[in-house]
């Protein structure tokens, strides 16, 4: 694995001067993942905060080739780029290895872009799709997505007098990707650079479709001080609200926190969950804890080698 000193010798994939909010986690996702590539990369991004804020004409923050097409088609767009690359390679017009990396927000990935992503994964293109997951449609002003956790306040499922924010549990996109039987699926956080860059290195070392789902705290949509971005991500990991794990060729490898913290430690610092701490919502909080535990248990069971099945 490349050390930080080694990573620091590589050209920064992003310049400063983009217009992401101060403390936004999305550019951290991009930098940590792309820096892990020792080969050149080509990037496609879906519409969303990352894309609009890094590419306001004539200012592009991308030091690597970059293409934005539309919101729901990063998977398909990258399929085309990769297909052309394979064609040129076959014809001997290019021999340089390139890592193709598509970025999509959770909206562009879990929801409107799910089909395009699924198609790209199923067709087996040699690309890495990274969902920078801030758990809502941030670019359009914090609307709910399929990735928004239960209880979160969003502008399309707000907490109100008779409602406590999002009613549904979030869908498990990482497992949907595992079900595609692709060679590598990872779920991670920013806030542990060594784990994230290692996962990215792993992804880049494998040919075929790879998927990474990276939790990215958003200070605007989640409501917290901008310097807490990485801390919050770590709390998501430590409470198992956002398990960190990878699935390589179907084999699960889970990062376990030293001590599993109660989920309220993660929820409490965030404005989007503030209403949950009002009297009367104890049951909902308990529900959330129970669901975190249930999902964590389910995940651990996938890693555990099966025993005693011979009877």
């Amino acid at each position: 694995m490349a050390s930080l000193k080694e990573l620091a010798t590589r050209k920064d994939p992003l310049t400063g001067g983009h217009r992401m909010c101060p403390g936004c986690g999305a550019p951290i996702v991009v930098r940590q993942i792309l820096l892990a590539s020792k080969d050149p990369v080509v990037v496609v991004s879906a519409t969303g905060c990352l894309e609009v804020s890094t590419t306001i004409f004539p200012y592009s923050a991308w030091n690597v080739p970059f293409l934005h097409n539309a919101f729901e088609n990063a998977g398909a767009t990258m399929s085309g780029v990769e297909a052309a690359y394979q064609n040129f390679k076959k014809k001997g017009k290019i021999d340089q290895h390139i890592n193709f990396v598509a970025f999509g927000g959770d909206g562009g990935t879990y929801d409107i872009g799910l089909q395009s992503l699924s198609g790209a994964m199923e067709r087996g293109h040699d690309l890495t799709y990274v969902c920078y997951n801030n758990e809502a449609y941030m670019n359009t002003g914090v609307q709910r997505s399929g990735a928004t956790p239960r209880g979160a306040n969003t502008t399309t499922e707000p907490a109100g007098k008779v409602s406590q924010g999002k009613v549904q549990w979030r869908k498990d996109l990482t497992e949907i990707m595992v079900a595609h039987n692709i060679p590598y699926v990872a779920q991670g956080i920013i806030g542990n650079w060594s784990d994230l860059t290692r996962k990215a290195e792993k992804a880049f070392s494998i040919r075929g479709p790879k998927f990474m789902n990276i939790l990215q705290p958003c200070r605007l949509g989640w409501g917290y001080r901008p310097d807490a971005t990485l801390e919050l991500a770590r709390l998501a990991f430590e409470t198992c609200a956002w398990p960190v794990y990878e699935v390589e060729n179907g084999v699960y490898k889970i990062s376990k926190p030293k001590e599993k913290k109660p989920v309220i430690e993660y929820l409490k610092p965030q404005d989007r969950f503030r209403h949950l701490f009002k009297p009367g919502n104890e049951a909902l909080l308990a529900d959330i804890q129970a669901e975190v535990d249930r999902r964590w248990g389910q995940l651990l069971a996938k890693e555990a080698p099966r025993q005693g099945s011979g009877q």
Binding site: P40, V41, V42, V44, E51, V52, T55, I56, F57, P58, S60, W62, N63, V64, P65, F66, L67, H68, N69, A70, E72, N73, G75, A76, T77, M78, S79, G80, V81, E82, A83, A84, Y85, Q86, N87, F88, K90, K91, I94, Q96, I98, Q115, S116, S118, G119, E122, R123
Partner: protein, 390 residues
């Protein structure tokens, strides 16, 4: 040396695609265009082309993948129809704004609803404002010839716009026709080697960013060149057609006049209807009636001045639209022609017939009735629906 063969429209287009041998094709099946994709996939499977074929999971992804592939500098083609084209709509103007010369085989089919697989022009006409060149074909031969020309036109530095060549669903796409096929080598020569793109997304040494967000200060400046390129493309279409005629003998223009020079009454039509109309016109001419036709080949760019000039001396003209704008004002072709004639000092009386929706047959008696009506055009309503039951 060319050879004469029997081919359906779809086969003819697939054959042209094989000869063009694009770098990437991304496509999805839809009646009546499916065969193009299937035949081409077989060419790929048999190693007859060098293309990387992306069998995407939707037309939205087909066009998205085309944009991605084309941004690398690759020569890219696709094919679709109706609902598939509708699903691409979001991405079509992006392809134009990024100036990507993607070439599409578009088989005209009615748009839902109700769902219908047969020919009309509603799918293609609804795509007329997306910055794509649109070339219509009267038969398989024209489709084949135009597809080959389309590569040259789209990739010409004065154009750099995506282009669709259309056939009429089933009427052309599925009917065997006698067509002349040029030799592979000659197609290759005519196209002139690989696409030459100024930038490639794969150029990792000189990274570019493509598809940026424009605010109020740049969007307009990025859209206007599409209009300019569209204007310039007329000249390019004619140049390419001339070279094509020199090499292969078949002549093409922006439009074709059929017995139009001395016509007193005429129709304007596009696509397969023109073939039927030619028979009716010949018949009327034999009876001494000065009937004629203006067949539009290129709908985008719209040859407004050329058409106004060509119709200047005709007394009455019926514009046949195989689609409606649902504006209560007639069809798309009619609206364009009416506007083209606005400044003309000499102009015919205009009528509009909307016909053939959802594959409703257009036959000789119907066309004869149009010419009959034209003989007393002043008594006719402006817009009529032809061949629909009351």
């Amino acid at each position: 040396m060319s050879k004469v063969v029997a081919r359906t429209g779809n086969e003819a287009m697939a054959e042209a695609m094989r000869q063009i041998n694009p770098d990437v094709v991304a496509a999805y099946p839809i009646t009546p265009a499916t065969e193009i994709v299937m035949i081409f996939a077989k060419y790929v499977a048999d190693g007859l082309v060098d293309t990387n074929f992306v069998a995407v999971e939707s037309e939205h992804s087909a066009m998205s993948a085309c944009v991605g592939a084309s941004a690398t500098g690759a020569r890219v083609m696709t094919g679709t129809s109706s609902q598939g084209l509708c699903l691409m709509y979001e991405i079509l103007p992006i392809a134009a704004a990024l100036r990507l010369p993607i070439v599409m085989c578009d088989v005209n089919r009615a748009i839902s609803g109700p769902i219908n697989i047969h020919c009309d022009h509603s799918d293609t006409m609804a795509a007329r404002d997306f910055g794509w060149l649109q070339i219509f074909s009267e038969d398989s031969q024209e489709a084949y010839d135009s597809l080959i020309q389309a590569i040259r036109i789209a990739e010409d530095p004065r154009v750099h716009l995506p282009t669709m060549v259309t056939t009429d669903g089933f009427i052309i796409s599925h009917c065997l026709d006698r067509i002349e096929i040029v030799e592979d080598k000659e197609v290759k020569e005519f196209i002139g080697g690989d696409r030459k793109a100024a930038n490639s997304l794969l150029d990792v040494k000189k990274p570019v960013s493509v598809g940026l967000l424009d605010l109020q200060d740049y969007y307009f400046e990025h859209r206007l060149p599409v209009a300019e390129a569209m204007k310039n493309s007329k000249k390019v279409i004619l140049e390419v057609a001339e070279e094509f005629a020199k090499k292969f003998g078949r002549k093409y223009g922006l439009y074709e006049g059929y017995k139009l020079d001395d016509a007193e009454i005429a129709i304007v039509a596009l696509g397969s209807t023109c073939g039927t109309a030619k028979v009716v016109i010949d018949e009327l001419r034999a009876k001494g009636i000065k009937a004629g036709m203006l067949k539009i080949r290129v709908f985008r760019p719209f040859p407004a001045e050329e058409i106004a000039q060509a119709l200047a001396n005709v007394k009455a003209v019926a514009v046949l639209d195989r689609s409606d704008m649902w504006a209560g004002q007639g069809g798309q072709v009619f609206t364009e022609i009416r506007s083209a004639l606005f400044e003309a000092v000499k102009k015919p009386q205009l009528l509009n017939y909307i016909y053939g929706l959802g594959g409703r047959e257009i036959d000789q008696p119907m066309l004869r009735s149009v010419f009959t009506a034209l003989q007393s055009a002043e008594k006719q309503p402006l817009v009529q629906y032809l061949g629909v039951r009351e």
